[in-house]
Subunit: 626 residues, 2 copies
């Protein structure tokens, strides 16, 4: 017990302080004090954080590339150019006036920061990064489970998983509907936000102030997303509870299974909840600068908000509050307990009693994996995500450490061979990220249209005239009655207004139908998706194939120990013989001691053998009882 206390204090000094954020974590110590399961969590978190460093560096580079090339970017120049004044169609009926494209200049320039060729490279990079990370984690897990003698648990684990695989199905079918309903709820909430956006857009553009008008879009997006964020945070909490309840009403199952099912449900719900507002906005009519910008604003706000509020406020605040209330209650209940005997050595327990009980690692993993999702899934629309994640995690590690060491009661040690279902979820996200990135680039960014324009439509092979090419004409006289902009200063001298789409012009036989360009660009976009997905998948397979799952040194050590084992067996055989032969010459006492030695050696061998192949894990545990 005393040793544990000393380890605890040591952990506090060396690990659970923000001051030591630059240091590596004392994983073995953590494992000794908290057990394998929590040890693995922190090992995983550490590796993940390390891996975020290179990706955030590349992300910054990509961002800087955007900043540098912004001046030489012809389309944004053309947009900001006052001379070629594109009269854009009103964004809403009646209240919105015609507006000049150059007023969206700021948006366009900003959007170039996130929407440039480098983002394509970056999202390929991140897909490979994810694969690499998972591979490295496999290796680290192998190493840990070798040094922590966890290899013995294999079969049991496998069995468990098989059990869940076959039994999870009905469980799903049962409450699939409820989950669906939840998802619907989320979508409806998001839809509400969108409605809000449109109305506000109208209201704001109603105002006379020119500057407000010009960045209506940004303000609206920002405010809308903040609302979104609140909705998400609230629903998150609800979903957590619902998932727990859903799993409880099912047939009772062993602890691990229960947890896994809970995890899957909670993840499914929270996942949808965190991301669903992004795809929806892609459909919305976007600024000429491309949707990527908006998507980016949204993601950055949500990601930062989620991390700051949820992690730091909830994770620090709530426990502290609970602790405080608990103390208060104790204060009140103390007097009654006073008369019961209490010796000094109970003090520590009292202190512990004040602490929060440990409620499992699920929320920690959940939070990290949703972040992993942000980093991989929408990297194309937000190259700085890894950086934010990194900054958050540097705090996160110490935060969790602090929480485990000081704020929570010490959890009882749980053995675990691996991070279980979380790994599957991670690799699932990795796979999903490829196709989602492909679509984000193909659909939301202007990457493909620009390529198309440069190599197919442009006369001189430059980007000049790109903006004009992407804008279709609309004949003002075709505006339905009542939808024309009221009190518009220059309504009478506008014949055609422009809007961002590939449509047939009013003077063509089939006016306002999708033009040929539209279909050509669409095919190009889809072709890009196919190309991107298969290229990335191929590279991932290559990476997966080139990095062996078992580290070389470990596999060599295992081989060495195997040969040692062989020698040991032979030696033992001989010794047994010798022992028996020169028995008569010795007296009984000596025999006994000899035997003891023998036994001791056998025991130690078993220990070593256990670490060697793990097949005796269960045995040696029983053996020590003997």
């Amino acid at each position: 017990w005393l040793i544990n206390v000393s380890i605890g204090s040591l952990l506090y000094r060396e690990w659970a302080r923000y001051g030591v954020f630059y240091k590596f974590q004392p994983i073995d110590l953590i494992r000794k004090y908290f057990g394998e399961k929590i040890g693995l969590y922190f090992a995983w978190l550490g590796l993940y954080t390390e891996f975020l460093i290179p990706s955030s560096v590349v992300g910054i580079v990509v961002f800087l590339y955007g900043c540098i090339t912004i001046e030489s970017d012809i389309p944004s120049k053309e947009m900001c150019d006052q001379r070629n004044a594109f009269t854009m169609c009103p964004l809403c009926d009646k209240f919105c006036d015609y507006w000049n494209l150059s007023s969206a200049c700021a948006t366009a320039r900003a959007s170039h920061l996130f929407d440039n060729p480098a983002t394509v490279f970056f999202s390929i990079f991140m897909a490979l990064w994810a694969t690499m990370f998972l591979e490295q984690w496999k290796r680290l897990q192998m190493r840990l489970s070798y040094f922590w003698d966890l290899t013995g648990m294999e079969e049991e684990e496998d069995d468990q998983e098989k059990l869940t695989c076959s039994d999870r199905m009905p469980g799903y079918a049962a409450n699939f509907g409820l989950i669906l309903f939840m998802i619907m709820l989320t979508f409806s909430a998001v839809f509400g936000v969108i409605v809000y956006r449109i109305t506000t857009a109208a209201a704001l553009s109603f105002s006379t102030n020119e500057t407000t008008k010009s960045n209506v879009r940004v303000t609206v997006t920002a405010t809308a997303v903040i609302i979104n964020l609140v909705v998400i945070l609230v629903l998150d909490e609800i979903y957590g509870a619902v998932a727990k309840w859903l799993t409880e009403i099912e047939v009772p199952k062993p602890e691990k299974t229960f947890e896994e099912r809970l995890v899957l449900k909670a993840f499914l719900l929270k996942f949808v909840n965190s991301y669903d507002n992004c795809p929806l906005d892609i459909d919305m009519h976007c600024a000429p600068g491309g949707c990527l910008m908006e998507l980016c604003i949204q993601l950055s706000i949500i990601m930062l908000g989620k991390q700051l509020i949820q992690n730091n406020l909830f994770e620090i605040g709530i426990p502290k509050l609970k602790k405080f209330f608990r103390k208060l209650k104790d204060e009140r209940t103390k007097p009654k307990e006073m008369d019961t005997n209490q010796s000094k050595d109970h003090q520590q327990w009292d202190l512990d009693y004040i602490l929060e009980p440990f409620t499992g690692l699920t929320p920690e993993y959940m939070e990290m994996i949703i972040q992993f999702g942000f980093v991989t899934l929408f990297v194309a629309s937000f190259p700085l995500a890894p950086l934010f994640a990194l900054l958050n995690n540097i705090i996160e590690v110490r935060l969790d450490a602090k929480k485990f060491v000081t704020e929570l009661r010490r959890p009882d040690i749980v053995r675990a061979k691996d991070i279980g279902i979380w790994y599957n979820i991670l690799s699932g996200i990795g796979k999903l990220s490829v196709i989602i990135n492909a679509f984000v680039i193909a659909v939301t960014s202007d990457f493909i249209p620009r390529l198309m324009y440069r190599y197919a439509y442009s006369q001189n092979g430059t980007m000049h005239g790109f903006i004009n090419h992407t804008l279709s004409y609309f004949n003002v006289s075709h505006l339905k009655d009542g939808t024309q902009p009221e009190n518009s200063p220059f309504a009478q001298d506008v014949l055609f207004c422009r809007f961002k789409d590939y449509r047939e012009p009013p003077w063509s036989p089939n006016q306002y139908e999708f033009s040929k360009q539209y279909w050509a660009v669409l095919s190009a976009r889809l072709a890009f998706v196919i190309l991107f997905q298969n290229l990335v998948m191929f590279l991932s397979v290559l990476v997966d194939w080139m990095i062996p799952d078992i580290p070389k040194d470990i596999s060599e050590q295992i081989k060495k120990e195997k040969s040692l084992l062989v020698d040991f067996f032979l030696k033992e055989e001989h010794e047994k013989l010798k022992l028996i032969e020169n028995f008569i010459t010795r007296d009984k006492q000596e025999h006994k001691s000899g035997t003891k030695g023998e036994r001791f050696r056998a025991a130690s061998f078993c220990q070593f053998n256990r670490s060697q192949k793990g097949s005796f894990a269960s045995f040696s545990s029983q053996h020590t009882e003997v």
Copy 2:
């Protein structure tokens, strides 16, 4: 030795005859006689053949569905309808005349057999079939390596592979150029064949006979493919040699590595060689019935030809010939050897000496895996492929058996844990098949255009007028001078001829450009590819996830044995003690026997323990020497 002979004859009776094709193979016997490596090969071949049964059944059903629906297929009806006479543009300059679409009626009707909605379902089915097969093989391999005590070899294997992974790269880089050159050679050969096709097409359509004219296409394709086949068979042999040579000139490596490298190279070359003529033909201008028909003819001929000629002729013929020549040589050299002593028991060796030496399993695997490729990669264009494969394999199994038992010298036993690199190649083909099938359906079949027409362009939602919709107009007056068909009976009263493409009509401002339909259909095709690929991949992952790699019974057995082991250890500890304690009361002789018993039990334990976790495989082998 005598035992082996008896096993040999038993194998011959029970396995190596065509008469017993319906029986399961005596795998354990094969393994005893030929060793693990060959045992695994036949086990794999057996499982593969079993798996071909369901797929060929489904294939037949799909084919029959085509036969049944052929009458109700409106497009082919329209094509054969004499009333709506589409005057098609000549297929070649000068010599070819205008022709009536209804003359290609037969082709159209036939092509419906292979190009109907069922093929889409079938190719999804086959993709999942491939995944299922690989999963089942993993399980069977697990089971075999458990019953054959091969689990112990794990580490060594892994090490080997790691070695190759890291060292194979430079090797590739070195002779990558040469392989590329080879591939070029193949393509050029195929190109030559295509040139031949076009010229012959011209020549044949030159003839006056109406029937020849009508099925010019089919005859040409058939003849061309036969040539292709010959080219392929010849190049196959060359490539085998080249690959071997390529691998030899590299830095020497352990046997296994060398073989693996050889395999990869040979496979790469032969693979290209077998399939490269298919994609090329997709680009060629196809009959209005769709290219799928031609692709199908080609594949069927190549597949059948390859199998019949290569397997049966080469595999039976060549060895028999060699054997014959060897005998002849012996006859001539016998007299000199006569005077050397020869006793009766040398006879068997002399007999063996006449036999061919064993040259490795590579060609057997290669052949089977290229067949696997045919079955999975182009299933969309040839639903009967699995059936042909099945028929071939039923012979193949017994053929190889015969060869191994009777025609070859008995190979020295080689231990192998798994089928090694072949598994990777198989899963690689499995992955590749998804995307290739997607493209075959999207690009070569009329599936997408038909859907598009029914739901987008058709007035009444039926397929009526589909043919007309797919044919573009060409103004005869636009034919360059000298390219107009000479001595055409009805040249003067033709104003417009039709050709199968989505082009702007002559009377549109930008005539003969790709029309909007073209781009729309193209986007639909590409969208289908994305949808198909991701759907199938998702399902495969699901299948992979639901089928556990280790069979339940095996994992349970392992667990049981582990607990047995524990008991054994404890018992041994106690026995040792007892043994020592009641030593004095016994006499030395008894001790010895007791010890012997002890030792024997230990030995047997080791055997059993070895099968239990495999970690003692090497030990027990040494132990028996002691």
